[in-house]
Symmetry: C2
Subunit: 200 residues, 2 copies
């Protein structure tokens, strides 16, 4: 029986871009399935009354340097996005519109492409035109996907994913679940590997 | 010329206990010097108006599980301290009293012993009697060290270390500096290793 890793991600999180790459490698080497669950981390931050690394804070300043270094260590292309944070709502809704379509097997590609466009190319993925361009480049119908993403049931799916994340105690992105166990942060992919090795 | 890693630590931080062990191993294998700089992280949290993982928060709940798992991965003994957080002021002042004494080469042992007592034995290192016991077990004069720690110049050293940490952008423990570059968190010892390998 194949093992599934649930991956809660916010498209505007640079650490989640770095994690996506590592997770995909792990999944390939160990035959794992990845279940992508885009959600809106900003909603959860707003509820808790503060962001963990607000603009101007020492933590934010450090995080930028840490992300640069992490990308260099992983050998991944990286450009600091501007503006940041950007609104990931449309990219997330388009994910769920794709998941509800006959082409749902392309959802992983969507995650990859949005992350790459934001954090390797440094382009603004809050912009619907950018997202249409990405979908078209993937051979999808970009404008159709954007329209489908504006239907109420799709909006509700994103809301439900954010509610589900909150209920499960998610407070950051990337967050993973393996057999119900939670792992937070790019570097916790080491812990996932360790847990998998224990269970073998 | 020997390379020095500056290590800002709060004695009440379980992640810093885990880091201390890894850092010591790294220092031994690569011939690095460690400059311990105990400071009061609680002062910095109070200034920023919130703790990053307050009691009752999902992040705090996760952190306890993450620390359990991290200790198991590292093969380190670990007991969740009670009460938590505990006041690390006296342990920190006793460190600086030791550093000002002719026995300053024992400072590394003091860090190790206080961490071990708190997080392997699960004992309360906010208690002066516990700290006297540790010092005595190290062959030091525990009561004398406690008394020395109450002198104004020693109190001032701890205050200065906390001020210095704040000025350098420290917002958590453990935090390391290698050649002026900052690294935050136990798992960033990987990054320090990577940086050292680049500079060789």
């Amino acid at each position: 029986m194949s093992v599934t890793i649930e991956y809660y991600l916010d498209f505007s999180s640079p650490y989640s871009y770095l994690a996506e790459h590592r997770l995909r490698k792990l999944a390939r080497s160990q035959g794992l399935d990845i279940e992508y669950k885009p959600f809106l981390l900003g909603v959860i931050f707003a509820e808790q009354g503060h962001s963990p690394a607000p603009p101007g804070s020492p933590k934010r300043a450090y995080a930028w340097r840490d992300i640069d270094r992490s990308a260099a260590m992983l050998g991944l292309p990286y450009r600091r996005p501007e503006p940041f944070p950007f609104n990931s709502m449309i990219a997330s809704r388009m994910f769920y519109a794709l998941e509800e379509s006959p082409l749902r097997e392309r959802c992983g590609d969507w995650v990859r492409m949005v992350f790459h466009t934001s954090f390797a190319d440094g382009r603004d993925c809050s912009d619907p035109n950018e997202l249409i361009r990405i979908a078209d480049a993937m051979g999808l119908d970009g404008r159709g996907l954007l329209e489908a993403s504006q239907e109420q049931p799709i909006k509700d799916r994103l809301r439900a994913a954010t509610d589900e994340a909150r209920t499960r105690g998610v407070f950051g992105s990337p967050t993973f679940f393996l057999n119900g166990e939670m792992f937070w942060g790019t570097d916790r992919i080491d812990h996932i590997e360790w847990r998998l090795s224990q269970q073998r």
